[in-house]
């Protein structure tokens, strides 16, 4: 009896925490950490410094690649070699809204790695020769490889059409908009301020992280948070010639305001990706999609807008036309969803939301954005709001989507690819 009880208690304490225990304001910086006893630790500095906030195109991308270059404390080679000696991994990633600087390392090495991260934030040098010798070539390679991927390119074009400025500005830099070291330094000094940064740790205790952050970020300026005009949705149509990769069409629908649960359920309902291998799935789209074409639902929630859509790709323009028409008619029919279908879609959406924070990266970026926005840093709210979606709210949401002007991007053989009115929009 006693043995059973102790083992139950042990099991309870072993339950993994899937949220940050608390968010502590340390010297003006939001610090959140959770320790599930992982063998390694990771610390992420999540900064509101995505392409949305940049004042010149490409500056955010250059800032991302300037990460871990020389600072007043150590040179670029010193940072890399010392991190290698500790066996840690330094990485930086950029999205439309956030810049994430991450260090993953063995337990016990946190003082060095937090120092590396914070010395980039507080005292990076942004030298002109590093921009020319290391940063610009990487930026160029990244944007070239992104441009050769039709799906990425279609989504970039769609963001430009849907939101124009702010969220519409491209994530990656282009060769036509050269960035100077001074511009990057200016941007860095505007975004690296106390109220713009959240420090997120996994596999590290809250007290240890707070102490390190207080020591290293204490002298950081607390200027006003970066501002950007609230997003508004425009929509439009564009057709771009592209000669490599599959024929691609993106059909997008935007909504402004905080991302709603209804859209997540709609995406889950229409998503033609099967849950079981070698099956076609039960989505209303999958039956009508030709074998040589594919449809993916895309749901991109941002802090004050959402872009929902279908990415249709196929070998020939005729396949793409059939598949895109199937997707649009399924969206139009989604308003009259049956209750049991809705239940299934809600379960799928809840699983997608929960599994997105399963990995370390998803955990830090999804919950980190909530920490930065001052919202409760857990998934309970998201899951309960998904539970509350009913058929009327769902059909209202899908009708509202269809009312606005769609975003339509055709990429490939523009002579053959369908126009928006030919797929039922």
């Amino acid at each position: 009896m006693l043995a059973a009880r102790t083992s139950a208690a042990r099991n309870a304490s072993r339950l993994l925490q899937r949220n940050f225990a608390s968010v502590v304001d340390t010297a003006g910086v939001k610090v959140a950490a959770v320790d599930n006893g992982e063998p390694t630790s990771a610390v992420t500095f999540l900064v509101k410094a995505g392409s949305r906030y940049e004042n010149k195109p490409g500056v955010a991308h250059a800032l991302q690649n300037f990460a871990f270059k020389s600072t007043a404390k150590r040179s670029a080679i010193g940072t890399v070699r010392e991190a290698e000696l500790y066996g840690g991994v330094l990485s930086s990633s950029l999205s439309r809204e956030h810049l994430a600087l991450t260090a993953a390392f063995l337990r016990g090495d946190e003082s060095f790695f937090v120092d590396v991260l914070s010395s980039f934030v507080t005292e990076a040098k942004f030298t002109r020769h590093e921009l020319n010798e290391y940063v610009a070539p990487v930026c160029e390679a990244e944007s070239t490889s992104a441009a050769s991927n039709p799906a990425t390119r279609a989504l970039e074009l769609a963001h430009g059409l849907a939101f124009r400025n702010g969220l519409g500005s491209p994530v990656l830099s282009t060769a036509h908009n050269p960035v100077t070291a001074e511009l990057v330094e200016q941007y860095a000094s505007s975004v690296f301020s106390k109220n713009n940064i959240a420090v997120l740790g996994t596999g590290i205790s809250q007290e240890a992280l707070s102490k390190l952050v207080e020591k290293s970020l204490g002298k950081l300026a607390a200027s006003a948070a970066v501002s950007s005009t609230p997003s508004s949705y425009f929509g439009g149509e564009t057709r771009v010639e592209n000669y490599e990769g599959p024929q691609t069409v993106f059909i997008g629908f935007g909504a402004t305001g905080a991302p709603t649960a209804e859209l997540a359920v709609l995406a889950a309902h229409l998503n033609p990706q099967p849950s079981v291998k070698w099956s076609k799935g039960l989505s209303p789209i999958s039956a009508d999609v030709p074998v040589t074409a594919s449809v993916q639902t895309v749901l991109l929630p941002y802090s004050d807008a959402t872009l929902f859509g279908f990415l249709v790709q196929g070998e020939t323009a005729a396949d793409v036309k059939t598949a895109a028409a199937a997707a649009v008619s399924a969206l139009k029919a989604a308003g009259s969803i049956k209750a049991e279908e809705l239940k299934k879609a809600v379960a799928k959406a809840k699983f997608a939301a929960a599994s997105s924070i399963e990995g370390r990266v998803g955990f830090a970026t999804t919950l980190g954005a909530k920490v930065l926005a001052g919202a409760p840093s857990n998934l309970d709210g998201t899951l309960s709001s998904l539970d509350k979606v009913d058929t009327s709210a769902f059909s209202n949401a899908s009708a509202a989507l269809l009312k606005a002007k769609p975003t339509y991007v055709a990429l490939g053989d523009v002579q053959q690819l369908p126009h928006a009115d030919e797929v039922g929009l």
């Binding site: 080679i77 010193g78 020769h129 020319n132």
Partner: protein, 128 residues
């Protein structure tokens, strides 16, 4: 590591540290720089650095586009004067105020980086 020439070790910083001696040294140095004749060809002292070395090449690549353009112009003008076996007319000589070390800081930076890389390449790691 060059032993002689503008990139080699120099006594100048040591000698400059004697305050009374400094003005006498300055007069002598100015006299020597004018005598060397490179200013008469419109060149700066840093144009004389041996550039066929990886570190100096990298330092030159770090100049601003304007600095590189001006440097090339000075070289072209000087080689034309060399062909003519003539100095520039006196009003075109490089004034002493313009004879600044525009390249040396970059070379020093590159040398420092190379030295740091060598240190990291040969470091002996011990566990505490």
């Amino acid at each position: 590591m060059t032993v002689f020439g503008p990139l080699g070790p120099s006594l100048a910083p040591y000698l400059r540290s004697f305050k009374g001696f400094r003005s006498a040294l300055k007069t002598h140095a100015d006299w020597y720089a004018n005598l060397a004749g490179y200013r008469r060809m419109g060149l700066k002292y840093d144009d004389l650095l041996v550039e066929e070395r990886p570190d100096v090449e990298r330092a030159i690549s770090r100049l601003t586009p304007r600095q590189i353009y001006d440097r090339t112009y000075r070289f072209k003008r000087a080689s034309q004067q060399s062909i003519l076996h003539k100095d520039l007319p006196k009003e075109e000589w490089l004034p002493a105020a313009e004879d600044v070390r525009y390249l040396k800081p970059h070379v020093e930076e590159v040398v420092k980086e190379d030295a740091e890389r060598a240190v990291w390449d040969n470091i002996a790691v011990s566990r505490k």
